[in-house]
């Protein structure tokens, strides 16, 4: 902790924040100089204005990975603090520890997992269904920049020493201004609000793209499963995210305008929990379903077989999505909603195991009798199945309401949701990045480094989190920064910490892999994996205008069967019109205005917020005035 005197005001700065500032002030200029030296400014300027789905997707991936590294560092900090009993690692005890785990959870979910998945959707889905871009390219850029603005705002909080500290769930009344006066949870509210808006708009975009921009002959039931998962996920987002929006909106009123929805004599803290989990549980499936889709495609490709039980896979996706809305109160078994409610939610929760089980068996049957190639994406897929099944088993254990009274808020729960979310989402993202990397950059990631990455990450993962089942059953509570000698927890926690650093090393191999591949990777052909779906018919990396000729699809995995019989896919002569590509800085500007507006609201600088609001309306005006469709319509309407 350091103290400064600035304009008669005493400023306290914890040394981790100072270290971050020093690092940022050293690295920032270095990066700027590097960009200038390499003459990369034109490239940056191009990306800042692009609306192309691959480029926007690439930016999603880049910033998603950046935030993933940051949130991962938080995880390592936590594990270091917990390595031995009564530890005093740096400053991360008490309130600081609360900030670290709140940041870790929020960033991993909203600023790492979500953008990484959306990035892969952006890159792969249009190509898989034969669309020439997302239905609304401009809106897509807006979505990305909103996500980035939210992420920047959230990280800004740390640099101003006011990180959120009420957990990623921000339970009330702790998160109201009665109990956490500093701006931390305001940052939480606004960062999630902005990025959530971006996610919602992405969902709209994906649905319209999938419903209306499929290649001729590509009926819904001929789509690759990743496209299906994206469709179902988008519908989940449409219902779940607006609820979060309103929950955050009400929390904002509680914090900024002195209402008391969630605290005080009149307020209802439990109402926040309901709203949060009505969003929060579907959110878990929003994270998992796309990963299921990725694995389905990968397993099928690298087993040289079509997906086993395609229709069962689709119906399971729908069922999981549907049931996902009826299980939220299983996060609230200990609240005291009564035996009827608890029973209902316990049963719906257990029901989800059925469609999920169907999917697991179908993946196994897809591999059965297949010619399995152990590529890096396939290894991640193979690691995913047992990992996720273990997460599912503990999920069913937790769904037993009576038993949950014991498990609740222990490391057992932490182990469970890391088995499901890392097991599906993170492994799925890694697999997806290795799999589609040729489409993104035109190169193939190095296999040897990929093996190191997968090996270290998966081994480290099980070391870290399998142990947590045991510490959890021994009663170790989550979100607690230390424990005592003589509680028999030392050995377990130490192993857990070692495992966490192995995962970190794995991720470093991944970063190294991206770097060396960029420097000197092997060029990829259009179809490096002997793929089955349409994305492998276009060049690597995918061109700005893919499908100059739109292929006609006559069955599932049409590309694969065409290759098998040595013919080419037929081409549609008169395809539906493509979305209009534009180059514009407007999306980036809009989001940055929203960012500044949020800062104005957080610190009650109403004038600033008002001015930004005005500018935002002007941006809308600019957008509608300079409509890119104008020139097109004028060409089609010469006589008016």
């Amino acid at each position: 902790m350091m103290t400064f005197n600035l304009l008669d005001e005493v400023l306290y700065m914890p040394s981790d924040v100072i270290a971050a500032w020093v690092l940022a002030l050293l690295l920032g200029p270095a990066v700027l100089v590097w960009i200038t030296r390499q003459r990369k400014w034109p490239v940056l300027w191009e990306y800042a204005r692009t609306t192309n789905h691959r480029k926007v997707g690439t930016m999603y991936l880049l910033f998603g990975l950046l935030f993933f590294l940051r949130a991962g560092t938080d995880a390592l900090i936590m594990r270091t603090q917990l390595a031995v009993p009564q530890n005093d690692f740096w400053v991360f005890q008490g309130e600081k520890y609360n900030e670290v785990f709140s940041t870790h959870g929020t960033m991993m979910i909203f600023f790492a997992a979500m953008p990484l998945l959306i990035g892969l959707m952006n890159i792969a889905v249009p190509l898989q269904i034969g669309a020439r871009d997302l239905a609304f390219p401009f809106l897509n850029a807006v979505s990305f920049w909103l996500f980035l603005a939210g992420g920047l705002l959230f990280n800004l909080a740390f640099f101003l020493d006011s990180s959120p500290n009420a957990g990623w769930t921000a339970y009330t009344p702790l998160s109201t201004d009665t109990y956490t006066q500093t701006a931390g949870n305001d940052y939480y509210v606004f960062a999630l609000q902005i990025s959530g808006l971006g996610t919602t708009l992405t969902a709209v975009n994906m649905i319209v793209t999938i419903l209306r921009h499929r290649a001729p002959g590509m009926s819904l039931t001929r789509m690759p499963l990743f496209a299906w998962a994206t469709l179902i996920t988008s519908f989940l987002i449409l219902i779940a995210f607006p609820v979060l929006t309103i929950a955050l909106f009400l929390l904002m009123f509680d914090r900024l305008f002195d209402t008391s929805f969630f605290s005080g004599e009149m307020g209802s803290p439990v109402y926040w929990q309901h709203l949060f989990w009505i969003f929060g549980h579907p959110e878990v499936y929003i994270l998992a379903l796309p990963a299921f889709g990725i694995f389905s495609d990968i397993i099928s490709t690298f087993s040289r077989k079509k997906v086993f039980g395609y229709m069962a896979m689709v119906i399971s996706l729908c069922l999981i999505g549907f049931l996902g809305f009826m299980v939220w109160a299983h996060h609230m078994f200990t609240v005291g909603l009564g035996p009827m409610a608890n029973t209902f939610f316990a049963i719906t929760t257990m029901l989800i195991a059925v469609p999920t089980g169907i999917k697991v068996f179908n993946w196994l049957f897809t591999m059965r009798n297949g010619i399995v190639r152990f590529t890096v994406p396939m290894l991640f897929a193979i690691a995913f199945i047992p990992t996720f099944v273990m997460g599912g088993v503990t999920g069913v254990m937790l769904s037993v309401a009576a038993a949950d009274m014991q498990f609740h808020d222990t490391h057992f729960v932490v182990a469970h949701f890391h088995y499901t979310i890392i097991g599906s989402t993170i492994l799925g993202i890694f697999a997806g990045i290795y799999y589609w990397y040729p489409k993104i950059t035109g190169k193939i990631l190095n296999r040897r480094l990929g093996l190191w990455h997968a090996g270290l990450f998966v081994t480290g993962f099980h070391l870290t989190f399998f142990i947590m089942h045991i510490t959890g059953l021994n009663g170790m509570p989550r979100r607690t920064y230390t424990y005592e000698w003589g509680e028999n927890l030392l050995a377990f926690n130490l192993i857990s910490t070692i495992g966490a650093f192995m995962m970190g090393a794995g991720v470093l191999f991944f970063a190294w892999n991206i770097y060396t591949t960029h420097k000197s990777g092997e060029k990829a052909s259009a179809d490096p994996w002997q793929g089955r779906s349409l994305e492998w018919t276009v060049a690597s990396p995918s061109p700005e205008h893919p499908f100059e000729k739109v292929p006609i699809v006559d069955q599932r995995d049409a590309f694969w069967y065409a290759k098998q019989s040595g013919r080419k896919l037929q081409v549609e002569k008169d395809p539906r019109p493509a979305p209009i590509a534009v180059y514009t800085i407007q999306p980036a500007l809009m989001s940055m205005i929203l960012l500044v507006m949020s800062i104005g609201l957080i610190y009650n600088w109403w004038l600033l917020a008002l001015i930004c609001g005005g500018f935002l309306l002007l941006m809308f005006l600019w957008r509608t005035w300079k409509d890119e469709r104008r020139s097109l319509y004028e060409r089609e309407e010469p006589d008016e």
Partner: protein
């Protein structure tokens, strides 16, 4: 008209309808919030607060405005600028009247001591009805912009599309008002 424009507009229509669905979920959550906190255990009862007269007057304005917008819609189909401007103008005036009445209503409530923070019922009321009012305000600004667009030499198809999207929006805002009328005011007024 042309194949290209029609296809792009159909995309936009579906996208906008889906977006309105999102808004519907948001308003739905706010309705739920209102029911959770109304009537409040302490503080004023809804029946004491609400002012029948202004509610009826405001409703009359807004509900008619959905009808007058149809004049513009008709004009849009026939390429009749007089009708478009009349419809848009009358709708704008009715919308403005609604907003004025509502702001006045809020002002009187606050004068009577029924503020945002008096009770959770009032908080929920103000947030829900206030969000609706801000939608009306946004719609009014939108109409101004549309009117300005109509004086530019835009391709007619493009103007028509912009106008149509606004029509969907305005009817949606009206629909939410009917729900507010039925679910928020009616149970406590009559």
């Amino acid at each position: 008209m042309s194949n290209h424009a029609d296809a792009l507009f159909a995309d936009k229509q579906i996208g906008f309808f889906i977006y309105l669905m999102v808004e519907g979920v948001m308003f739905g959550t706010l309705f739920a919030t209102y029911f959770v906190f109304t009537p409040a255990a302490t503080g004023p009862a809804p029946g004491e607060v609400y002012d029948t007269q202004s509610v009826i007057l405001a409703s009359a304005c807004l509900l008619t405005s959905s009808g007058t917008l149809m004049i513009a819609e008709k004009g849009l189909a026939n390429h009749n600028w007089r009708r478009i401007w009349t419809g848009l103008g009358v709708t704008f005036l009715l919308g403005t009247a609604f907003l004025v009445i509502e702001v006045q209503e809020f002002y009187f409530y606050v004068q009577d001591g029924y503020t945002l923070t008096s009770s959770n019922f009032l908080s929920a009321f103000f947030v829900l009805v206030g969000l609706h009012a801000s939608h009306v305000l946004f719609g009014l600004l939108w109409m101004v912009v549309l009117a300005c667009q109509s004086f530019r030499s835009l391709p007619y198809q493009l103007f028509k599309e912009k106008h149509k999207i606004f029509i969907y929006y305005w009817h949606f805002v009206d629909l939410i008002w009917i729900l507010i009328l039925v679910l928020v005011y009616a149970p406590f007024l009559w």
